[in-house]
Every structure is written in C-alpha cells, then in structure tokens.
Symmetry: C2
Subunit: 237 residues, 2 copies
DNA sequence: CGTCAGATTGATCTGTGTCAAACCCAGTGG
DNA sequence: CCACTGGGTTTGACACAGATCAATCTGACG
C-alpha cells in the first residue's frame, strides 16, 4: 500500500499521458493528443476525494490516467445509487460538457487516482473540427448507452440475488482478478449494495448464501468467484 | 380514427421529410438533408408492427416522420421492460449502427407511423465528414445518456408509487395533453406497468389510489392529471 | 488497549408480485 | 339483434423478497 501510494504521487508527464490517451482515441495524431493536455491539468487525487457533485456546472471533463473513480447519483434520503466505476483509460464528465448542462452525477475517487482535466472548449473544438475524434466520442457515448439500457432492464426485472451475481461477474470482467483469484476491485459492502441497488444487510446475507452454496469465497473484503458458470446461470446470462 | 388513418396512409415526399429533419438536425444544409433520404426509404407502418428485434443486426437507423414507437427489452420470462417511447422528430436505432453491434432493444410501432430509413453507410459517412452533424448526434446520444442515468436511479430507489407518478408526469411532458385534459398518449395498463417496471395489477391499484386521493381522473384508458404539484411531490421532483 | 468504521446476525414489518376469478366492452358473425 | 368471443381491466386473497431496526462483532489503527 505504502509504495503504491508513492508511485502514484509522481505525476506523469504529457508524453506519458499521450501514450495512454492514444489507446482510447486511436483516431488522433500525436499533435492532436497533445492539444488535449497541459502539464498543469494533470493532477493527483487522494482516495475518496470528490471530483464534482451532481447539479454543479463543470467546465471540462476528465481522462483517467490511473486509479478508479465512482460515478453515482444521490436519490431518496441521501442514499446513493452507483452508476458505474471507471478506470484507467476511461473518460468521464463529457456528457455535461457536451450538453452544456449541470452534471447529472457525482464523481469521487474510489482509490488514489491521477486525472487529466480537459477543458470544455478544447473538447468541443476537437469534436467540431476532427471527425475521427467525434467518431470515437460517439463510440464511447453509445457504448454507455447500451450498458445503461441493459442495466435498466436488469434492475427492473431481476431479483436482488440475480443482480448481485451479475454485478460480481461484471466486476470480475471490468477490473479483473488477482493472482490468488480474488476480485481486484476492493469494495465495501455498502458500495456493493449501492451498486446493486439494495440494502447493505441484504448484500451481506446473499454473499453468505453464495458462500454456503460454494459459489464464492470471502475473507473480509476479498471475494473470490469459485464457480463462474453457476453464477452466470443465477445472473441469467 | 378513420380519417386519421387515411391521412397517414399518404406518404410524404422527400421535401416534406427534409423539413421535419431540419428541426432535428439544424446543422445540416438542405443538400445534406436530402442526402439522408430517398423516396423509397419512407414507409408507412401499421400500429403494433415490429421494426426490429433485440439481438438482430440492423443496417440502418430510423427517423420518425409521424407516429409513436415503443423501445423495449425483453427480460426474464418474456416480460418486457419499456425503455422509452419516441415520437415525431426522433431518431432511433443509431446506437447499434454506430457500435456495429446487434440491436440491444426491440422496437415496435405504438401507433400508426411513417418512418424514414437511413442506411448505416449514409449515417456513418455523414458523421465522419460533417462535424456539425456529428455534434448534433453527440447531443442526441448524450441526452439519452442523462435520461438513462436518472431512470436507473429512480427505478432502483423509488417505490412503485413514486415511479408511477413520475412516469405519468413524464408522459404528460413528452406527449402533451388533449384539450379535455387527458394524456395524449394512449397506453394500456400493461404497457404502463412495463414502463414503470412493475406488475399490471399494481399499476391498476395505484391508479385507483391516486383517483381516490383526487390526484387523477380515469375513464378507461383516458387519464387526466388533476393535481400536478401533488404528483410531483409524490414522485419526488 | 480504546475507538470507530464496517461487517454480521436476528427479529420483524410491509410493499409488491402472483394466482385466480370476475367483469367490461367492442367487434364479429350467425 | 343478440349471443359469443377475447383482449383488456379490476378486485381479492395470499405469500414472500427485501427493507428496516437493533444489537453485536470484528479488525485495523492511533
């Protein structure tokens, strides 16, 4: 934990960021990529920092150089609904920029993170002047759209037990697993319940059910999926 | 009903379609708009016709010249989850085209409708070559993204009673009300429940609750909202 | 050690789903 | 003109998933 923190404290230079950006925006030249970045817009964030809050106006979006961020909405009596986790290589906040609307979600770091800030003018200019970039952005937006639609159906129709299985699989997919088989994403029961859209106690009970059925293994926050196939069946995939 | 049907049977010519398209894509010249359309891609659909089904590959998207269409996903034991209704001036199906993926939703006409088919090559070309169009498309995609996020939070956290109120208000907003005050959108209890994401019987009971509380008036499928403010309070808006 | 956030377990309570039966009404055909 | 049909609607009875509340436990960290 300690040395990881240190590693992240060292901010990458623009060239390094460009290299990562290039993986996300294959259609841009090195020149154009550099146009997106400035050294002083690269910044380190501590774990749990709020990047921006729902309802505020943001004047730019963020590219994740490293770390994991949590995107959520606050509903009903302050309970948060997690929409998704984003990681290295992902871009977030562009929706509000493009729509010229206040943010419809809050974002905070879920781990330490290094983010590159991209001002609205720069983003919008590039969309207007570079059709390849506009195309890449369309891809990103449309991918999110598909994910959202699926999410809506699932949350509306599946039981909590099914959804939890699905989310565990999704986490395994998106963030991978350690050498020892545990999910890489370190997440509290509360966050997990906010992601699934249920009560914390319910998640705990269901995880324990899974454990008893031999589907997963739990040691504290470490979760190992033992029987992917059966989990998929439960999730209805 | 009769003459309305007749009116719709007469297909509009390209110029008429262009005029409607122009309201949706303000950034295109008349030339470019015409490039999107061909007379033989304008077609009339009967009420309840399937445009395309989830999982199939579609080679183009659709612009709604007139009528209302229903976008839904089939989950769990065939129960459908309605994602949204689209109407005159809306574009649908572009997600799959842009992502080069099979459709993630099914679409069918909810009323008689006239749709203009826009082949993938035409759409993609325009995105690549016309930054104004790409910008308009980004706007559309990002608007849908915001709607989806809100929907996810609501469906996950609000009670059915709250959601039903919200959806009634949304329907009033999107489709308007008749002179006599009834919602313009004619919808069965079943569709309404699939939209809210609940059982038909539950919707019926809740509507009847609202009626008893003096919030709405019902005569068969005609629903009149009597007390918008109170409904908003219930919906939590 | 003491503290505190997070995890767990148990005991209720209740909103909704499910099943079954009846009803309403418009359209069809004899 | 009336019986018949079938889709949509309504009502009632009942069961259960999951929320809520309360109490206890755990483990990391100062």
């Amino acid at each position: 934990m300690k040395n990881e923190a240190n590693k992240n404290m060292i901010l990458p230079d623009i060239d390094l960021c460009c290299r990562k950006l290039k993986q996300t925006f294959a259609n841009l030249t090195d020149e154009e990529l550099k146009g997106l970045l400035r050294q002083d817009s690269i910044r380190h964030y501590k774990k749990g920092e709020l990047i921006y809050a729902e309802g505020t106006r943001i004047k730019g979006c963020y590219f994740i150089y490293s770390g994991i961020i949590k995107i959520y909405q606050t509903g009903h009596e302050g309970k948060e609904q997690i929409i998704k986790f984003d990681q290295e290589g992902d871009l977030f906040g562009f929706r509000s920029v493009i729509r010229h609307e206040p943010a419809c979600t809050s974002v905070e770091t879920h781990s330490e993170a290094i983010l590159c800030y991209i001002p609205d003018s720069v983003l919008l200019n590039l969309i207007r002047n570079n059709s390849g970039f506009a195309y890449d952005m369309m891809q990103i937006a449309c991918k999110e759209l598909g994910d959202s639609n699926r999410y809506i159906r699932d949350i509306a129709q599946k039981s909590v037990k099914e959804r939890l299985a699905e989310i565990l699989l999704l986490i395994a997919d998106d963030f991978g697993i350690e050498h020892d088989g545990n999910l890489k994403l370190n997440i509290t029961r509360e966050d997990l319940s906010n992601f699934v859209g249920t009560a914390t106690e319910t998640v705990i009970r269901l995880l324990s059910d899974y454990k008893n059925e031999g589907l997963i293994e739990i040691k504290g926050r470490k979760i190992k999926l033992l029987h992917i196939e059966k989990l998929k069946t439960i999730a209805g995939i």
